[in-house]
Symmetry: C2
Subunit: 388 residues, 2 copies
Amino acid sequence: MIGNFTYCNPTKLYFGKGALEGLNSELPKYGKNVLLVYGGGSVKRNGIYDKVVAVLKANGKEIYEDAGVMPNPTIEKVKEGVERARAANADLILAVGGGSVCDYAKAVSVSVHCEEDIWEKYFVRFEDVSCKVVPVGCVLTMVGTGSEMNGGSVITNHEKKLKIGHVFGENVYPKFSVLDPEFTFTVPRYQMISGIYDIMSHILEQYFSGTDDNTSDYLSEGLLRSLIHSAEIAAEDPLDYEARSNIMWTATWALNTLIAKGKTTDWMVHKIGQAVGAYTDATHGMTLSAVSMPYYRLILPYGTPKFARYAVNVWGVDPANKTEEAVAYEGLKRMEAWMKKLGLVMNLTDLGATREMLDGMVESTLMNGGGYKVLSKEDVRAVLLASF
Amino acid sequence: MIGNFTYCNPTKLYFGKGALEGLNSELPKYGKNVLLVYGGGSVKRNGIYDKVVAVLKANGKEIYEDAGVMPNPTIEKVKEGVERARAANADLILAVGGGSVCDYAKAVSVSVHCEEDIWEKYFVRFEDVSCKVVPVGCVLTMVGTGSEMNGGSVITNHEKKLKIGHVFGENVYPKFSVLDPEFTFTVPRYQMISGIYDIMSHILEQYFSGTDDNTSDYLSEGLLRSLIHSAEIAAEDPLDYEARSNIMWTATWALNTLIAKGKTTDWMVHKIGQAVGAYTDATHGMTLSAVSMPYYRLILPYGTPKFARYAVNVWGVDPANKTEEAVAYEGLKRMEAWMKKLGLVMNLTDLGATREMLDGMVESTLMNGGGYKVLSKEDVRAVLLASF
């Protein structure tokens, strides 16, 4: 059943080769001060920075820089960005990078005109935005988070050992995003497959909840089949435009609210993975892959019919002459084999986690999720232990 | 491959039981003159009219009426609506009805401030809108066309024996749409299944084109599976909320541009069906079902791999020990059986068409479509002849 909801996703997308040209349609809508946000400098090495600056200059913009956004952006860095945006009197924040840079840009955008402690307001009390928002635009260079077309913003607080996501409303969504698959070609293989699993996890965490019949789950199965197929091709040949463009488009729809509409969701893999991230600073998608199999094996008995459906519809398991449970487990086995073949990290040790961090990671795990089983802290501990 | 495109769909949706409450959030955004557009009066009999009027009055609106929009709205009626909108100095056009009423409202909205001949401008020359657009909102009472979240507007010219659709840009999309599945419960069975086939045809006409690998096709397969499943339930029990809500949501995504992104499309079933509609004034979805099987059997040899994929992924045909061609035809056979079981019209005679209309219908068929085969006029004639 499709439960009650409202839906609106106003982000304008420019997709494909040469999509950066779309900036020429968007930039005139904003004032002249642009805060250009990016990460560690890869956009300078691969030439994307120069291309973006050229378009900004051609549109008569005043460029202010905010570089050095880290893969797991910190609240300290956000506060620095807020100061830069204020000093620039920014009319537009243009994020050039992956999900971290987009997430970061949104966190800055809702804080520039906010006088409160932004960690407390948005990431502890999860309050709505009550101030003016500086518009954000994105030029995506890495695929996975869906941040280019949603209100999500995940920020890390190292002092408190917390990595927390706030989902802002549609007024905080990027006004526009440029999605050129070729801009992702220089992403290192490890980052590419990490992003692929981030997408996978987004879909699964919305899929594995609920026992009713819901169109969203059929859409999720379609996205999963497309992703699995294209990921195998991209892993062999990262320069395969067809595969990379399909992955990029799948990523956007995996987390722009559509496939969660009218249904319940889970999200515990993200909650546990984010706790791992807070302790290890590991690449986001790999924290998810490392804990997924123990998590899904733990909850399978509580949602066996859905896991069996997943096995048949997504992994092509033949259900003939098998129990529902056997079908369900065979689906997870095929998924695990696919993950290993891609080269995803399958344990916490490889991410630099140690058993000494266990208590802390359990403590850091936000418990506001859960699909077929509402986890206890003991369950979280069991999942983490089984992930070493 | 995902080809280049831009995407933006800004329509705000209120979905579910009691979704009409959403009007309280939307109406304050517009001036006080509302042109209330509806059809033959069923909304008065089922009480929806009274509910809408109550919300309009509670929001202090001045209500101007434009009733009598017919199932295949005519250009004469559009011109009458334009006069009414001008006389009312309408700030908002609120369409209460099915796709025809929404289509009609959009045609009026782009013509109120336009001095040109609107048939010639929009439905012959297919020009862009160059005047101010009066905003449109929808309260949907019948499901199928997707008009609640797109720029489509199909208008009939009886004098010229033409039924033509113009797809307007995102500035013409409804600003908001209210989708309450219970509002569709009183739709007669014939209209309900006609709408279901309209949805089916929308998806198929975007799916059956192209030979590359494209995420959109996987999404289409998901929508098709959901629709086929829910349609069977709704045909048995039209008051099954789960099925009706899934059908309603599927209809929206079947034609709001998403599943056509980055790929080629077909649309010849609609072109031929619209020619039939221009001659018979038959219910839209039934004109599509009547010509579909002959059309798909004609083009199958030109797109056999896709028809085989359709058979396996959508209809669950087991491909083992069969030729691709055999698999493909088995898929169409299953589709045909499903159509007959639902009670769809499978021939033109049942729609009141006669062989005397054949030349005219061939002539009226717009040829600006085509997927696996670009049809000649002789092909169109063959499809129509095989549909008697």
